[in-house]
Symmetry: D2
Subunit: 337 residues, 4 copies
């Protein structure tokens, strides 16, 4: 194996792991060496498809020929696996969120930092070509000084109540992507977080102690403001948009559509819907995310998203959860302790 | 004069009064009879253009041949003129806001109600064809049960600081339109109001005690949420949009553009900007507003916007002002006393 | 009457005459003095609405106080009235087409030229803000050297067969607007005209000797090409678009829509249709057309569209009619004789 | 090898062959077995990337384990290779055009038909998701009876003059895609072809005996009309659009854009350009084309595009070339002999 080809172990063999397996295999700088999963058959299927081996997680972590691991297991295992993998000298790309517990994530952050190994958190949306183009345009100063960010982020349909109950809640499970997006676009963490949430889509979600629709306002030290809107249900598809107002203009990243067909009849002018969900919308983002990880690890350059970013987003989720309950703004500093 | 032609006195002869004079004159159900203004020359100019008389406000209010007055004078005179005109038996269309003081507006509301005369407040945006189409579609149930409303409302450029100082502040002067829009679309007043404001466009606005950029979240008794974004500066033009998410879809009313020209070059695909400001965007709305007033007065049917609506929006502005200062949500009931 | 206010006689009191009456009355540089029509009641109605007199055509033409006439009578009277009005010293704005007979129009051109009086032909589309913006951008060189023009021009529904029979045919009645548009945009007349026509919308139109769908290709001396598409039926509304390809880009003037509402549901993303027909789409163009006429006549500057332009478009219609019958290209020089 | 996995030989190893190699390798129903090219190094590079062998064309055609060949060599070898491959019992997917000579293509058609082996021509645009959606909507009757088709097809920049000279000319090299698209959408061949061509983009193209800009009108037996516009230069990118007017509406397939970013400034509202050229725009189409071939061959069902389609498009190119020279329409029957 050439020193510039990453030998990758994939931990987890579920749906999103399959997406990562393709990205790993088609990237010229990496190769899928091994896959593990508590469901052995699932691991074997992915392994066969890409000429890799199905092995145990232990075997993967102990194999010195494996340079990097991609963690796509259930959330409750993330912190442990990040710690074990970095201790074993691997570079790590871990799916979001780091943990449902901010304290546990902060502990993991401390332990991992000591190893000096690179840990990237899978905030794939930063690599969406539309959002990345917006960030690049803002950084080039194309709209002057940035002032007001709006994030619209609606899922097509709510997950099962059983999932809701173990998800950590909308703020930690769903809006965490948008908290990271705000941090990415604004280039800073907010000072305070104000949340209003409701369970108007499905009262059972409210009965389970969660909200399904929420608006969160973020206030920044320099006077800027961001607002995030989430809904668990947009029947027309995955609605993922950004708007950034600046002193010299507005940037908007709009939805990607299923196709460009437009039909004009007596009923109106009808076009295609947004792509249905994250697998359709963010497929190019997953490939770009992996490519960025490979480049950073292989060249030793800075990771574009770090474990610190994962902890920062989690802290905002924690603050939003508290604010939605009390009705009052929560300072991020209080949450971070 | 036929009994179905309103004989109208126009109080005020400034820029917006000119717009109203045209609407009054071209509407087949009304005719401009008289104009008054503290600037006699301005009143005479409008009067000459439309074959009306320049008279004093007293003369207009005392003339039994005048059926209706349109009040387009400075805000501090609105409450007095509404009271005097209704006492004199006139139907009234008064420019927004009713007053900068909620207490004064509530007093005016009480006095006027006793006269039984129709008083409409000039929330012209309800008559914008795009917003009206959105409201009609929502009322027809085209997106099911409504859940989350977003209002984007940016001016092209901030007014002079001198104006800011007497304006009553962004919430009473500018966002009051959006408060009424929320009431119009949602068909209800919110329970609580949370505001975050900043003076990031121009620190002098902050020095004058006002904000120039704000996000306000409205929570409704039935769990619905609305969010309003205001900025005093959108250099690309007057940005006036609505988005309403419902259980069966999304409605968006987008900006009207200067023209439909699109240019594709190596620099990208370039289209026209939004119309520059309210006179361009809302010209059709002013005519429709006046037509609705004429129809309601001539037929005795209910006014589409009332003095009560004016007071309701003012109360929300009051609550938002308080919330922006304290950082905590304000219950509307507390403000209304 | 001030020397800078045109005193206008309106010949004809049909639907389009009503549009012109409004433009004449609201323009500060003109006033509607008199209206004539073979239907006296129709003339009286318009006259009453705008404070004018209903008079005979003879009386209008013989009145020295009338400076200009707007001819909105039936096509077969145009040439005669243009000749009589210019002989009587009036400035003339005449609805298109000049005549159905190219020979008669050319004779009128000769007679009128001798009087030196200004005669403008009502090719209102040149004054559509979208098409005018496209022309201005092209003239500023924004897409470099122009190469290929496409005109899409579809009516919402075919007229009655009785109208088709006296219309002069699609090329003289409908596409004549597009021939003038090609001349306007390209700034030159073509060398040859190739037409393909069919009566696929309604075979009765074919039985009446006309076509209802046609594609005409125009070849220019300098190698440029234009293509015009016409259909008598676009059920979704009046489809009026331009595309101009140049060495440095593409300009497109798109349809104006009924409103900006967009609805996203499981069925797709649905927007408003184009405005229904010419009265909706071109209302601003009629006002701008009249304003341009008033300015040219009052200042003595060149008319933006002339009788020569009317004859040029008619010659192209004649050539297209011949080409559609023979199947071969027709040189414009042959038609002009 | 399972009987349902196609073992594929790739003839040619140029740029487009690389695209096909990826499609072959990632399709679960096929595998890349061998690659040949006169440039041995190019063949070896592709072979190495996908675990295939670099072999001679003879060796590939003589290997009974190879079930199918994809011909991506230079146009002058297509007919010979189609004949040899079908004689050797292979299923064939051959890049367009079949040949520059209509006679040679017709001879190949006859020889190949005798073998009964499936031969598909690579008109990849039929598999573009936008065009395919338009065709499907039309076939479902969503716009009623189809009447008028418009095809806009502009390249971003002209090829080198050296290429122009051996290309067979714009009609055979570039517009042949659009002739096939017309046949695909209209479901029939036209009766006659009228062409107007010019070398306005680059006079050297004219000096080389070719045109760079052309408009071709197709007349169908049932009265329908199609019009194709080609330009060798659209500086803003690859402009590939369809419009189909029917008795009940209009279908438009619009361009795919580089991203969905929109920037509003004082200069206007600026969006991304169309994707740059065919590799960007039609990458999904190449994968879908190959998938359709694999399915048809593996299941024995009808090919979606056949050698007959390749000959039909070539005949239209021949007719257009003649028409552009003579200036008169050419009947397709005359060309087909």
């Amino acid at each position: 194996m050439s020193s510039t080809i990453l030998n990758v172990g994939l931990l987890g063999a579920g749906r999103i792991a399959g997406v990562h397996a393709t990205a790993i295999s088609t990237n010229p700088g990496s190769r899928l060496a091994a896959v593990s999963d508590i469901n052995q058959a699932a691991a074997e299927k992915i392994a066969a498809q890409y000429g890799a081996e199905a092995r145990s997680t232990d075997a993967i972590l102990n194999d010195p020929a494996i340079n990097a691991v991609l963690i796509a297991t259930s959330t409750d295992t993330h912190s442990d696996l990040i710690e074990r993998a970095t201790a074993a000298g691997k570079a790590v790309l871990c799916e979001k969120p780091v943990d449902l517990s901010l304290g546990r994530a902060q502990a993991c952050q401390k332990v991992t930092a000591a190893t000096g190994k690179p840990v990237m958190i899978g905030f794939n949306r930063r690599f969406d070509p539309n959002f990345a183009a917006l960030k690049a345009a803002a950084d080039r100063g194309e709209i002057g000084k940035t002032e007001l960010l709006s994030i619209t982020s609606f899922d097509p349909a709510p997950p099962p109540i059983a999932y809701i109950k173990v998800s950590g809640g909308l703020f930690r499970d769903m809006m965490i992507h948008d908290f990271d997006m705000a941090n990415f676009i604004m280039g800073a963490a907010p000072v305070s977080v104000s949340a209003v949430g409701t369970s108007i889509v499905d009262p059972e979600i409210g009965a389970a102690g969660d909200v399904d629709t929420a608006v969160v306002t973020l206030a920044y030290a320099d006077g800027r403001i961001a607002v995030i809107k989430n809904s668990r249900r947009a029947v027309y598809g995955y609605d993922q948009r950004l708007e950034l107002l600046g002193s010299e203009g507005l940037l908007q990243a709009q939805n990607m559509l299923e196709n460009t067909l437009v039909k004009s009849t007596t009923s109106g002018v009808i076009g295609a819907k947004p792509t249905y969900f994250f697998l359709e919308r963010y497929m190019p983002a997953y490939a770009a995310e992996w490519a960025a990880f490979v480049t950073a690890v292989n060249t030793g350059s800075a990771l574009p998203v770090t474990l610190d970013d994962g902890v920062a987003a989690l802290a905002m989720a924690e603050a939003a959860s508290q604010s939605a309950k009390t009705g009052s703004p929560v300072k991020l500093a209080e949450v971070l302790g």
